[in-house]
């Protein structure tokens, strides 16, 4: 009895804080989305479903789709770069692996404004990369690699790559080495072992990393804002604009809800897929 009470007392303060400062504000956003914008901003408490209807209009739908497309590109690139890197770390001597991982994670924990700003310095027409390419004679005209989708995708990959490496590495770690040995003993070449054994078994880690990148990219504000030069509008920028420029809080709220809904669906699908994968392959894990 006291144990249960003790447990509740331990959980209560934090759960209470999260409820008051996270759940309640999100409920308020939910609540706002059903009202109208006052003539000059602010809220006019007239019930309406207009905001959701507006969110479905072509211009906004295409922004959602565009954000999904950019997020998907960032995800694919991040996974493709991360997997070999994680694999390489897992092959390294045990005592060095922690160090390699730490080096991977350090940038991830540093200020993302600055990390994004660094790309402005690198990618602009008079920036380092163009200067280097022009200087070495590889190109005649500077490349247009800033203030467009390329820059935004690069920024997103750069920001989230470390986490994907970590997720895949964790999955590789959990593999039972005996399975790989068994596969080789049975005569499979290295690449087939990788393709048919290692890769499928590490898919949960890949999925976790991929969903993480996708979910964080689609709602990202800073990266398209700084690297997009106003030309790339993702959902995060749209919400920001509604709250500041348009002063249309109800519509901004509706858009936020749409975003959260999409993300929850994705996470749910990922959880289901992982569950199913684990059930199917349960016997191959140590």
């Amino acid at each position: 009895m006291t144990k249960r009470l003790g447990q509740i007392l331990l959980i209560l303060p934090a759960a209470g804080w999260l409820t008051v400062f996270m759940i309640v504000p999100c409920l308020i956003v939910f609540f706002f989305s059903f009202f109208e914008r006052g003539t000059y901003g602010g809220i006019d408490y007239t019930f309406t479903l207009d905001n959701f209807a507006r969110a479905g209009e072509p211009v906004y739908r295409s922004i959602f789709l565009g954000s999904a497309r950019i997020a998907a590109m960032a995800t694919v690139i991040a996974v493709v770069v991360a997997y070999p890197a994680a694999y390489a770390i897992s092959l390294a001597p045990r005592h060095r692996q922690t160090r390699y991982l730490l080096l991977v994670m350090l940038p991830f924990w540093s200020n993302y404004l600055i990390r994004t700003y660094a790309w402005i310095v690198l990618l602009n027409r008079e920036g380092l990369i163009n200067k280097a390419l022009m200087g070495s004679g590889l190109i005649g005209e500077p490349l247009h690699i800033l203030y467009n989708e390329f820059a935004v995708v690069t920024g997103l990959v750069y920001n989230y790559l470390p986490f994907v490496i970590l997720a895949i590495y964790a999955s590789l770690q959990r593999l039972n080495p005996e399975i790989r040995e068994a596969s080789e003993d049975l005569g499979a070449p290295a690449w087939m072992t990788f393709l048919r054994v290692t890769l499928p078994l590490t898919l949960p880690g890949v999925a976790a990393g991929a969903v993480f990148v996708f979910v964080l990219s689609i709602g990202n504000f800073v990266t398209p804002d700084l690297l997009g030069g106003g030309r790339i509008v993702m959902v995060g920028n749209l919400v920001y604009d509604q709250f500041l420029s348009a002063r249309d809080w109800p519509f901004g709220a509706a858009l936020s809800l749409a975003l959260i809904f999409i993300m929850m669906v994705l996470l749910f699908l990922q959880a289901v897929a992982v569950n199913r994968a684990q059930q199917a392959k349960g016997s191959t894990h140590a």
Binding site: Y40, G41, G230, R231, L238, A246
Partner: protein, 349 residues
């Protein structure tokens, strides 16, 4: 437990720091754009009147409007906002009436500055700086002399990828409106759609939408022709004398940046003293010299060193000529259409 005590104390301390600042006697908080005021203005004002000035910065009108509408202006005494936004603040009841008796330096203003369309008689706002919007370009990187908005909106091949436009929706749309011969305060949906289509096309040749760093892009050569406010262009001219400013033949808008006192201000008298100080001939002159914008302060402009006009020709524009241009007004309900059009433009591919 000790820990709870510590964190409670820290929270209280932090809260106190947040609230205490606003309650200090003889102190006002103003919000302005970065670099839009001489850096030592607050210091000099304090020496003259003993009132302390805390300067908050906002990057765009929208940012400060968002904060002020959300917080009902609490924590701010004087806001520097562009005229359409001053109108909105007035309509929302967030701007206080300017007691002219307390701002005698209003007499320094040009007569034109007392009859501005958005606030005739300056009842809820006081003009701080005014000017035009036009094309700012590198004469050494652009062939010929740009003379029309279409030079920006339908650029020559050599300019593609080297032009920028202002990001704020009113000015972004205004360029298109003027190019098509419409009013900068146009509310007809058909015309809005027409301009939107034009600007979507322009986006394909654009380097970026930029309100704040376009002049440094000109200086570095990243851009050759940019959509600019005249004063900002002067910063570029100051760094590279090949940069020139031109008002397109289709016309421009007369924009006015104003000072507004918030209704939430607890120090309205101090706020008005600040505005009065800014309007003095001396301060006005020194503001103009510092920020390289025209001020609607006749006494100040008359006192300006004439050589400035040679380096920065747009400073010499006479108020009478400026008044020939259209003034930006708040669009009321039509603002939604503009915001939506701009969203479509900036999100287009």
């Amino acid at each position: 437990m000790k820990r709870i005590g510590i964190y409670a104390a820290v929270v209280a301390l932090a809260a106190g720091l947040g609230l205490g600042a606003a309650m200090a006697e003889g102190k006002i908080v103003i919000s302005n754009w970065d670099g839009y005021m001489p850096k030592d203005l607050p210091e000099k004002f304090k020496q003259a009147t003993g009132i302390e000035v805390e300067v908050a910065l906002h990057a765009t009108n929208e940012e400060i409007m968002g904060k002020v509408v959300a917080g009902k202006g609490r924590g701010y005494d004087v806001l520097f906002v562009s005229s359409p936004f001053a109108e909105v603040l007035h309509k929302l009841g967030l701007s206080a009436t300017i007691d002219h008796a307390k701002v005698p330096n209003l007499a320094n203003l040009y007569s034109e500055a007392n009859t501005l369309a958005y606030d005739p008689g300056n009842t809820f706002s006081v003009p701080y700086a005014w000017g035009t919007t036009g094309l700012c370009y590198r004469s050494d990187l652009v062939e010929g002399t740009p003379s029309s908005w279409n030079d920006l909106l339908e650029p020559a091949d050599s300019l593609k990828g080297k032009i920028t436009m202002l990001a704020t929706d009113r000015w972004l749309m205004a360029a298109g409106m003027l190019a098509r011969g419409y009013s900068v305060n146009e509310t007809d949906q058909g015309r809005i759609d027409e301009v939107k289509a034009l600007l979507i096309d322009t986006k394909k040749s654009l380097l970026a939408y930029d309100d704040t760093t376009f002049y440094s892009k000109l200086v570095s050569g990243e851009a050759s022709l940019v959509h600019a406010w005249d004063g900002w262009c002067n910063y570029g001219i100051g760094e590279n004398d090949k940069i020139k400013y031109v008002i397109p033949k289709e016309g421009t808008d007369l924009w006015v940046d104003t000072m507004v006192v918030t209704t939430a201000s607890e120090n309205k008298d101090a706020a008005l003293k600040f505005i009065d100080y800014v309007l003095s001939a001396e301060t006005g002159k020194w503001v103009a010299e510092n920020i390289l914008y025209k001020v609607p302060n006749k006494a100040a402009m008359d006192a300006l060193d004439k050589t400035l006009f040679e380096t920065y020709p747009n400073l010499a524009m006479a108020p009478a000529d400026m008044m020939k241009q259209e003034q930006l007004r708040d669009l009321g309900d039509a603002q939604k259409a503009y915001t939506k059009a701009v969203t479509e433009i900036t999100a287009s591919n």
